[in-house]
Symmetry: C2
DNA sequence: AAAATATCGCTATTGACATACCGATATAAA
DNA sequence: TTTATATCGGTATGTCAATAGCGATATTTT
């Protein structure tokens, strides 16, 4: 029908669309659980409080053809979005830095939904190394390169103090990591080909506290 | 998503600028600690790996006049950015949902830098209510309205399971909260005037896992 | 079978932010 | 004193995503 879409598919997904995909996916899962066989973009938009055109465009980018008056086939759409997110097969990750935040992430149920499992945890402190936190044994940093290579792990979760951020990132990169989920406040410098996704609580809080303090 | 409307009143600070302010602030603090009395936007940009023009524009928006060849007066700039973020006087917050994530946030040292202190914590589970976590006593949900009003608290931290997200948000709003730091995956619907800032781990992870799985 | 309607899919416009460019000015050097 | 230079401040351009509008099409209804 339309060869343009086919050709442009693999990397044509805008970043904001990818960010919204988990939200759509959750909604679609709920609708399937409720017995729906077809998903209308308008209904999804309504449920999520999004603009109907935006939802339609995002969903259309998944590549599944929809039918007017029926919507998109539910299962196929679910599979396509799951695949686009890379959540269709399990991803192993290592976690570096078992402080309060690292501890919480180790205990966080909910990553399974995204097919993410933390295969190993590392810490520099001898007091923590050797302990088992939420079923994961904490190993010394020296073991990191070997383990990452042996298990062919591509994702690293960085939950160390700020001053250890860059050095630990370097170690992860050297071990062959492809993506870093960065929970520190430092801006990491990594070589091309390594992807960093920042979760900076300070940045997020900044917007809130500015808005709250500005309006009074 | 539509917080632009709220902030358009006294200071028209762009949202991305506000998000970058904590990063600048950290850098400025370090430079002051190193003995600098004047801050050059070019130096800040260099240190942070940002575009020099971007840093200059962001810093200029703080409202402190700088001098050519010298830079911006360090202390004044520090004070201005701190004030713009609303971090100049202490903000009290309540935390709702003492699960693994809520637990971690209660124990997280580092909010003091942003003048945020968690004044009270609430949970629906009778098993948790009454316990003291990291020095904060966990109270029943029924106490929320009274306490929020009495302490005049404006910020709520939402770390409950997804299905409890909207109901708890409603309770916070009813109690008079002005801003919600939303760690759930649900998109909250709140009345105008209440600001929601989402920290959705699933969204963040989506970008990473998509990128990692796409390139191979 | 024909009309009505809901939904998809495409293109154009808008708007916000980042980037680039250029002039102004204060400090330092000659 | 004069010249050079680094830095600030404003204006203009480009880019990307959100929004709006319109035509196409399949399903339902009469």
């Amino acid at each position: 029908m339309n060869e343009k879409n086919q050709l442009a598919r693999p990397f044509a997904l805008p970043l904001p669309t990818i960010r919204r995909y988990p939200v759509y996916l959750r909604c679609i899962n709920e609708m399937i659980a409720a017995g729906e066989t077809h998903i209308s973009s308008a209904v999804v938009a309504e449920k999520l409080g999004l603009d109907s055109v935006l939802a339609r465009k995002d969903i259309a980018m998944a590549g599944v053809p929809g039918k007017p008056r029926r919507g998109y086939p539910a299962r196929e759409l679910q599979a396509a979005i799951t695949a686009a997110l890379g959540w269709d097969n399990s991803t192993d990750a290592v976690l570096v830095g078992v402080g309060s935040l690292g501890n919480a992430l180790l205990g966080y149920r909910g990553f399974e939904e995204q097919s993410l499992s933390i295969a190993a945890a590392f810490d520099a402190s001898p007091e923590i190394v050797g302990k088992t936190i939420h079923g994961v044994k904490v190993r010394p940093m020296a073991d990191l390169p070997r383990l990452v290579k042996r298990l062919n792990i591509r994702l690293g979760i960085l939950t160390v103090p700020n001053d250890a951020g860059q050095p630990c990132a370097d170690k992860l990169v050297a071990a062959g990591i492809r993506g870093i989920w960065n929970f520190t406040s430092v801006r990491l410098s990594v070589p091309d080909g390594v992807i960093v996704q920042n979760v900076d609580l300070a940045q997020s809080l900044a917007v809130l506290s500015h808005a709250i303090s500005a309006k009074r």
